[in-house]
């Protein structure tokens, strides 16, 4: 049924060039949402009496929704910016989504170590989000990092107030325009360890892996293991030129292994997940004004959820026994304070337990314990294969590192780390409470900001 719309009255105030214009300050256009906001310039400029308390009320409302500090009305700062500016705190990722991944550091280059010399088709990066979207475990997937590649700022920082000069900044470039694929010796070793673990686990369907390694090595490990395990990214931040977490290297590693991930995605029939976390996500960080806090709290799946997926054992993979105990966010998942009814056994596994005793000129396969003979003793240290019966030789062949005997115990101190305590950035807030600029690089003067201006 269609109800007729009444005939339109003549639109009032349709004149242009008289301050009656509406100006768009926010525009979103991606797969999830399309939207925009406009401001009536004349009315907005008339209303210079907007008070900060109104905006703060809005911030509280937004914070209640997402746990994020909102950015109420930052766009209208073009109109409402006042003389008094203060430093405040906002969620880093939200600022990057609004103002660009390089928020406050436009033009500062990313530094890549180990740039690959292999042919690289930059346009292929457009496919990375699709390549990394799991076929079986999408419910656990965190798409934050792949989606950063093509992200454009949704809004521009406000123009400088009258009498001030904006610094000349280079044009914005998306991450997909600046990322370079990397491969380092550490990544290659992690790749071969991944291959070795995949070989060992082939055919054992009830195992899952949570790899908590430095980002590039984590990606390389997953690339090595992805013939058997389905990679599920849990990277929940964006790169930044002066980020505490060098996430651009993780993205660069994904770019390097993208062909491998794409190929194996089409071949793989297994639903066993391999969750990827960047161990540097909670790197120690003090209130340094020249660093951008892009750290994050892991959103790892609960053991009870994995149990529902018929996972019986989870291997928590770390670089070495020295990487234990696990960070607070993972402790809360693997050793919950209030244990959930679940049947997932959790054991730690150190990459240093994979090696080779072979002397060759090129890369050789890695084995658990270093040789083909010790390789099968994996199922002694990790008794998740009921069909495996060790021989006498095998049972004495290799003693795994302390990681294999590590116990996950709930730590009361883990609760002190919360998602909100990570990933916050100082910003300049105008007199109306609106974000004016990132407050990176401040050196005792609140008037000198990257991406802002000085008077």
């Amino acid at each position: 049924m269609t109800t007729p719309v009444p005939p339109p009255p003549k639109p009032p105030g349709s004149g242009s060039g008289s301050g009656q214009e509406f100006e768009r300050d926010v525009e979103l256009n991606d797969e999830g949402i399309v939207g925009a906001r406009w401001w009536h310039k004349a009315l907005a400029s008339q209303d210079s009496t907007v008070e900060r308390r109104h905006v703060l009320v809005g911030l509280i409302a937004a914070g209640g929704v997402l746990g994020a500090i909102g950015m109420a009305g930052y766009g209208i700062s073009k109109i409402f910016s006042g003389p008094s500016e203060t430093v405040d705190t906002r969620r880093s990722l939200e600022m990057q989504r609004q103002f660009g991944w390089d928020f406050g550091a436009r033009g500062k280059p990313l530094v890549f170590n180990g740039v690959s010399e292999k042919p690289f088709v930059r346009a292929d990066l457009d496919q990375l989000p699709d390549v990394m979207l799991p076929a079986y475990n999408a419910k656990y997937y965190v798409n934050t990092l792949p989606m950063s590649l093509k992200a454009q700022p949704a809004a521009a920082l406000p123009a400088p107030a009258a009498g001030t000069t904006a610094p000349a900044l280079p044009p914005f470039k998306t991450l997909s325009e600046v990322i370079l694929p990397i491969v380092t010796p550490e990544m290659e070793k992690a790749y071969r360890a991944g291959e070795a673990l995949a070989r060992l686990c082939s055919g054992r369907r009830s195992l899952a892996i949570l790899a908590d390694l430095p980002g590039p090595e984590c990606v390389a490990f997953a690339a090595g293991a992805c013939s058997v395990f389905e990679p599920v990214l849990l990277f929940d931040n964006w790169p930044h030129p002066v980020g505490v977490v060098p996430t651009h290297q993780t993205l660069a590693a994904l770019a390097y292994y993208q062909p491998r991930f794409a190929e194996q995605k089409n071949l793989r029939s297994s639903a066993r997940p391999l969750f990827l976390l960047d161990r540097r996500r909670m790197s120690a960080y003090s209130e340094e004004s020249d660093r951008f806090d892009n750290r994050y709290y892991a959103r790892a799946p609960r053991l009870s959820a994995l149990a529902q997926d018929e996972i019986q054992a989870l291997l928590y993979v770390v670089a070495s026994p020295a990487a234990l105990p696990e960070p607070d966010d993972i402790n809360a998942v693997l050793a919950p304070a209030y244990p959930e009814p679940q049947t997932v056994a959790v054991r730690a596994l150190a990459l240093t337990d994979f090696g080779t005793t072979a002397v060759t000129s090129g890369p050789s396969p890695l084995y658990f314990g270093g040789s083909a003979e010790t390789d099968a003793t994996f199922w002694i240290a990790y008794p998740y294969d009921s069909s495996f019966t060790p021989t006498l030789d095998q049972s004495t062949a290799f003693k795994a590192s302390d990681a294999s005997r590590y116990s996950f115990i709930s730590r009361s101190t883990a609760a002190a780390t919360t998602p909100e305590s990570l990933g916050n950035v100082a910003v300049m807030v105008g007199g109306s409470g609106l974000v004016m600029a990132a407050a990176l690089g401040r050196r005792g003067s609140q008037n000198r900001f990257s991406g802002g201006w000085s008077g």
């Binding site: 009536h40 937004a62 949704a154």
Partner: protein, 191 residues
């Protein structure tokens, strides 16, 4: 200036062959960065026409009018943040309804921050005088939509429009709508 706010959000079922989503999406995405009260009014009129013509697809919704200044400012920020933080948007594709045979849904949201002392605000207030037992009726949503021709953009300080999803294969699922964040969207009663 004291402020008033009108906001309306509808959740509609995405039919595979319907142009509802693409028309609303285009309406928002293609509206110029610099606009005029006249163009804004035409935009609203077009949105109303599309929605009313597709009232059979209405599933859930909500609408608000407040002329309390603090409430209006707070609520307008809230509606804007719903867009800016992509609160309701999915994080990944859900698949087109045609392909998966499961229903998919979209939302269309619009909110207007007005001069509370204007005739426009008074007209909208009058439009929104609805008995409580009719608040969630489809006929009420249609009546309000159809009456939005009274919106005078000379008195509208800011407006926001958004459509979820931005890509047809990112439609909301029935399970998505059970999430707590969508609780404010009530089932729309047919009669």
């Amino acid at each position: 200036m004291n402020h008033a706010i009108f906001a309306l959000e509808l959740c509609l079922e995405l039919a595979p062959d319907s142009e509802l989503w693409s028309e609303l999406r285009a309406l928002v995405a293609e509206h110029p960065a610099i606009s005029s009260p006249g163009k804004k009014w035409q935009m609203l009129r077009s949105a109303v026409q599309i929605l009313v013509a597709n009232q059979d697809a209405f599933v859930r919704g909500c609408w608000d009018f407040f002329d309390d200044n603090e409430r209006a400012l707070k609520d307008y920020d809230m509606w804007c943040n719903g867009m800016i933080t992509r609160e309701g948007a999915r994080k990944e594709a859900s698949g087109a309804p045609r392909r998966h045979g499961e229903p998919r849904f979209m939302t269309f949201t619009m909110s207007f921050l007005m001069d509370a002392g204007s005739q426009c605000a008074r007209d909208v207030a009058k439009l929104c005088e609805v008995p409580e037992n009719l608040l969630w009726k489809k006929q009420t949503f249609v009546k309000i939509l159809s009456g939005l021709g009274v919106m005078n953009f000379a008195a509208v300080k800011s407006d926001v429009f958004y459509v979820i999803p931005g890509d047809e294969s990112w439609g909301l699922t029935a399970e998505d709508l059970t999430d707590r964040k969508f609780q404010y969207l009530r089932m729309i009663e047919d009669r």
